[in-house]
Amino acid sequence: MTAKVTVKDLHKAYGDNEVLKGINLEVQENEVVVMIGPSGSGKSTFLRTLNKLEDPTSGEILINGYNLVDKKTDINKVRENVGMVFQHFNLFPHLSVLENVILAPVELGKMSKEDAKALGMQLLTQVGLAEKADAKPTQLSGGQKQRVAIARALAMKPSIMLFDEPTSALDPEMVGDVLQVMRDLAEDGMTMIVVTHEMGFAKQVADRVVFFADGYIREQGTPEEVFNNPQDPRAQDFLNKVLNV
């Protein structure tokens, strides 16, 4: 079995400030990897290099066999297969909910508008928002917006989904619905890489938990290994703080 994602010795610096200091990671098909760690540890930056929203300074990234560092690689083709969900949703405010979902497949000629609408309604049903299809994003709550954003990413039928702190901007009572949608996705076998502070979600859903600190991966393993018996002192300290509030 070949890995969906292979990262080798990845570095990323903004001027003199190196935020990723040599990351190595492989993610297998159907695997759910949850990345945790303190703020500024580099986990979000790392996630954004996986669809080239950030350009790596050096190292190697293979996504579905495409080499992202190679300038000849058509990044748009890679991105079609990698869905991304952002902390602040980034829904397109000038379009309706359904239009948000079907924009990319229609504009990229993946399917007819009719087919896209049918798929869009199916995805909105899946995230529990079919009745909001004609609403504008501004009429939705944060949790609803994020579920639409997930449906929008899924409309391109990606084989990998990236989640960048998807619940961090939500009111606490909204978090559950979004996590449930993500849990369903995981159960359906989606390959997922999730940056989050939701330790409960990590424990329940992750196949593997990766702990970031200071631009390095300090520790990784099954949720049981990482949460119950962390080896790295930074990980011990971090988990001690977040789990024993």
Binding site: L53, R79, E80, M84, F86, N90, F92, L103, E107, M156
Partner: protein, 486 residues
Amino acid sequence: MMKKHTWLKASWLMVTMLLGLIVFNTTTAHADTKEPHYVITTDTTFAPFEFQGQNGKYVGIDMDMLSAIAKKEHFTYKLVPIAFNSGAQGVLSGQFDAIIAGMTITPERQQVYDFGTPYYKTGIIAAVSPKSGITDLNQLRGKTVALKTGTGSAQYAVSIQKKYGFKVTYFNDSNTMYNAVALGNAAAAFEDDPVMKYAIKNGVKLKIITQPANGGEYGFAVKKGQNKELLAKFNAGYAAIKKDGTYDKIVAKYLGSNEAKFSGDAKENNSIIGLLKQNKNQFISGMIKTLQLTIFGIVFATIFGVLIGVLAVVPNKFAHGFSSTVIYIFRGLPLLVLAFFIYIGLPSLTGTKIPAIAAGLITLTLNEGAYIAAFVAGGLKHVDAGQMEAARSLGLPYWKAMRKVIMPQGIKLMIPSFVNQFIITLKDTSILSAIGIIELTQTGTVIISRNMQGFRVWFIVAMMYLIIITLLTFLAKWADKKFASK
């Protein structure tokens, strides 16, 4: 506290000095409390009658004569050189006591001015570019002839226009008119004999093709019924310098002259309705020209502006630099300077002439376009960066993301600025009268220069602008509603 005070003092000093400089520059004789003091206007360029000498002081036949008369008659004056047409109107509005500017005495003008003793007889001649091969007025058929707004020469040229079948265009000063002919934008120019000869003697590349014809007499003028004392002093002084040979010396200093005869024109009905009726065709064609300039100007400026504005946000340093340089230059240049540069400067550099209307449209495109580019760039930058990231992460290529996601949001923010810019563009077209485009403002100028009915004609012109602006604003609101509901 101390520092602030010094600053204030320094800036106050600067302002006073600047003001002093301006006043001093325009004064040829100093005020003396015992002698009467007048404010007299003249044209900015009408050599050899008035023009700036090497030290910036105004010299010429009119100037030397006025100075000699003032000395003889014991009065002082402040000289204010401005465009002839504005000066002539300024006398009527009371801004100036008198005008001496190679002003031809006509029956129309005598209705509103009192003229002194005619002091110079002149004829009108036509000149062409030596390169044109034109030797005869008959060869001007179908061609455009350059005239100076409000002059007797222009009136004469118009009176023979039908006979020779040429078109006319107007300029506000002799120099621009000469350039238009020298550069080939106009086939010929009509001007007073001594003025044209002096210009040619001083390096203007034109060739005279006619004998002096249909001339007139120049007169010193005050507003009808006003400044009688000044007029009497002028006449007495003129008689004295004519007698003692000063006058001949002055004229000989600047040229040797010919003389010609003169005939005038009929009166005009000067009520607003009458003015509208009389000049209906001129007003309509001026309005059409203004609308053409505005609409084409807006379309081209919008295309240019959006293009340059988008270049300011694409992820490319060269594009950013290019965009901000273009905005910096064309937003920074006054529209009038840009128009002159394109119309007169560019042909001198490249050797290819540009029709005035094309030069005007290019000017509008660059200048209004730069403003549009600035707010397009601003509007696009105002769209949250996450929007582009989200669109790109779905696999949309950059330009598709720009068009489908960023632009629609940005344009919504820009609509008020667009409406504003359209109105500004309409008003800015009036500046293009300076390069001889007879749009609405220039139409007004030309009519006024003939009938001197400044207030009424400008009232008509102002109303016409307001009507166009009202229509454009309605159109913009309608478009905005249509766009917003989408």
